[in-house]
Amino acid sequence: MNEYLIRLLAAGAVLALLSGAPQAVFAQAHQPPKVETDDYAWQHVANPYGDDAEAIEQGRSLYRRTCYICHLDAGGRGPNLRKSALKGQDFMRVVLNGKKNTQMPAWKGKLSEEDMWKILAYLEASPAK
């Protein structure tokens, strides 16, 4: 977060306090990101396929046969994954466990960890246009 943005947020929070808006605006900005835990035995903490052209190609093929039905090439029924704010294992945890109260299913048992990393490697290698 750059300095300008912090100032802007702080100013907004002061304004919110003055106008009697809920103070949670300020509090939320300072909460650390929530890290979800799971009992999955991860083999990798970072993507082992980041610059592996063959794995990226496999990831492309896998993506089209799995995530594609909702996420398509640039988002559709689900968000554009090439613009996802989730990186690395945070992304992987959503793939593994699904997302509650959405139609994102859990891929645990349907995709191997290796395959999930390959899909992520493909998405990162082909960013949004």
Partner: protein, 586 residues
């Protein structure tokens, strides 16, 4: 508290006794009851109310004059934030409703008291083979059983009285991409079940089971093998992953002894990789229900390359066209046309566009109904985008059923005006693997300016549009028409509404709290007419517009319930075990 609890229990017992005594004929719903469902004004026994699927009620208590007084009588949570798409059934004072994940509820239709609930546990990973959300469109009733298709591709028969499973049968392996979201359909002592999976390379089929025992009777594939009629419309091995899923319900003509069923898009979506008509995908087929043999087929979209499923079940109507009596099947299609066919033979009579600017075809042959394809709008497996194609793949009219008034010969057609872009993948990227996506194409829906949703009234004999009601968001709800000249449907703004069937004037609106993608029904209990609808966005409309989610059942009438009728509550009064205990005695 003790007193309340006791009287609550005795009320429950009294209710059960009343239900058992209330003229429930020992054998329950019979074939005759289903064939004569139209004469049974008070109840709603079949998905489309009658075998002809007209969704037309002869009830007349709620009228254009008094509909403004319509008010919620009771409402009930269906316990889901996923989409609800069902048509409730009403039989012997009980309402059978399905919610997301194939949950089934039996409610006392008088006051919403839950009699039982069936909540199958979805297997882990099931969500990975669902294209369009964990939706379900309702139940079927026969004898003393109520039937539901589950998302993991089972047909389950439940005992009407208790909700206990009487028997169940597999429809296929969900891990291979086969699921089920439609309402089962009972014909001649058999339950007919269709499957979903057109985006997973499933080869579509219908299955019939003995309604009492569950014994399998027949299986009919919608896509023929080589050597079977139509087998030559599939090059090579393409028939094996040919699609033609059967994810909705059908219609039945007892006199002709024909069962009508719509079929879905071919797989993959790339029409240039399976040159030929690809029978019987994107079609209407008529089957002999006794043996499942296909009597005839009519293909709306041969060699479909636009995901124009033809699953919306036909309405059967006897109409007069150019002075000639016709036993017609009416169907409103995703490809943008409203079809009128001769249901004895499948012969094309005419088709009329339901949307403006259809451009995937340059026109239909006036004799055969076969579309001339506009090749400029056919996406190829070459990675090049084609746009704007009209209509977009959602239709036209997607799955939601229209209504038809036999009194006036008018169809009430929900339809959407929007476009799409399609980009075919390269052949090397189109690989079939059981249980994995087999689309072969990227798509994007596009708006065209103006309202997307339109409810249109169409005089079928005169071939004339009478009026339309616009909705800014797409319409995804079924329609109900009544003899008293009312049309009911719902929209994605959360409104359930009633219009004058003659003029299209909106007469009444109610905000249900979430978008409506289900179909309304009406029924009569104790001399009073009610209207019921499920509200709760999910499935396809939720992909395009954000709105509050909550699966609810709403029941409307002209009078509030009396305290007596409302009873002591729709659910139990006992605290959760251990959570709230009486003050301990000293």
């Amino acid at each position: 508290m003790k007193m309340a609890s006791l009287s609550f229990r005795s009320a429950g017992a009294a209710l059960l006794a009343a239900l058992l005594a209330a003229g429930v004929h020992a054998a329950g719903v019979s074939d005759t009851d289903l064939v004569k469902a139209d004469a049974n004004k008070a109840e709603w026994l079949i998905y489309g109310r009658t075998y002809d699927n007209q969704r037309f009620s002869p009830l007349t208590q709620i009228t254009t004059k008094n509909v403004s007084q319509l008010r919620p009588v009771w409402a009930m949570s269906l316990g889901t934030l996923d989409g609800v798409e069902a048509t409730p059934l009403i039989n012997d004072g009980v309402m059978y409703v399905t919610s997301a994940y194939s949950n089934v509820f039996a409610f006392n239709a008088r006051n919403g008291r839950q009699l039982w609930k069936y909540a199958p546990k979805p297997p882990e990973g099931l969500g990975t083979v669902l294209c369009c959300g964990p939706v379900n469109r309702g139940t079927a009733i026969y004898g003393e059983l109520v039937y539901v298709l589950t998302l993991d591709a089972r047909l389950v028969a439940l005992k009407k009285a208790t909700g206990e499973v009487a028997w169940e049968q597999s429809l296929g392996d969900w891990k291979a991409g086969i699921s089920a979201t439609g309402a089962p359909y009972v014909v001649k002592g058999m339950v007919i079940a269709g499957i979903a999976g057109g985006e997973y390379g499933v080869r579509g089929y219908l299955k019939a089971f003995d309604a009492a025992s569950g014994a399998p009777k027949w299986t009919t594939y919608t896509v023929p093998e080589p050597g079977e009629p139509g087998g030559d419309t599939w090059p090579g091995e393409t028939w094996k992953t040919g699609g033609g899923a059967t994810w909705q319900s059908g219609a039945f003509d007892p006199e002709l002894n024909l069962l009508y069923w719509g079929t879905g898009n071919p797989g993959s979506w790339n029409s240039d990789l399976r040159k030929g008509d690809n029978k019987w995908t994107a079609s209407l087929i008529a089957l002999n229900p006794d043996d499942g043999k296909i009597a005839w087929g009519f293909q709306y979209t041969p060699n479909d390359g636009w995901d124009y499923d033809g699953n919306n079940a036909p309405v059967l109507a006897d109409i007069s066209i150019d002075g000639k009596k016709v036993k017609a099947a009416l169907q409103t299609n995703r490809n943008g046309f409203f079809y009128v066919l001769d249901r004895t033979s499948g012969k094309f009579i005419y088709a009329e566009p339901t949307v403006e600017g259809i451009n995937w075809t340059t026109g239909l042959d006036p004799v055969t109904g076969r579309p001339a394809i506009n090749e400029a709008m056919r996406p190829l497996a070459d990675g090049k985008p084609v746009l704007p194609i009209v209509p977009g793949l959602e239709g036209g009219t997607n799955w939601f059923p229209m209504a038809y008034s036999p009194a006036t010969g008018v169809a009430f057609v929900p339809t959407n005006q929007w476009a799409m872009a399609l980009t075919g993948h390269l052949p090397k990227d189109i690989v079939y693997e059981p249980g994995k996506v087999y689309m072969g194409m990227d798509y994007k829906m596009h708006t065209q300016g103006g309202a997307i949703g339109h409810l249109k009234a169409f005089d079928v004999a005169k071939r004339k549009w009478l009026w339309q009601i616009d909705s800014p968001l797409p319409l995804f709800a079924g329609v109900l028409a009544t003899k008293s000249g009312l049309v009911f449907t719902g929209d994605q703004l959360g409104f359930f509404w009633a219009a004058d069937a003659k003029t299209g004037k909106l007469l009444w609106k109610f905000q249900t709290g979430s978008g409506i993608n289900a179909s309304p029904v009406t029924y009569e209990l104790d001399g009073k007419q009610y209207v019921a609808i499920l509200s709760g966005v999910g499935g396809d409309p939720s992909f395009y517009f954000a709105q509050p989610k909550s699966g609810m059942l709403w029941v409307f009438g002209l009078d509030n319930l009396t305290a007596d009728a409302a009873g002591e509550g729709a659910w139990g009064v006992e605290p959760i075990e251990g959570a709230l205990t009486p003050v301990p005695s000293k």
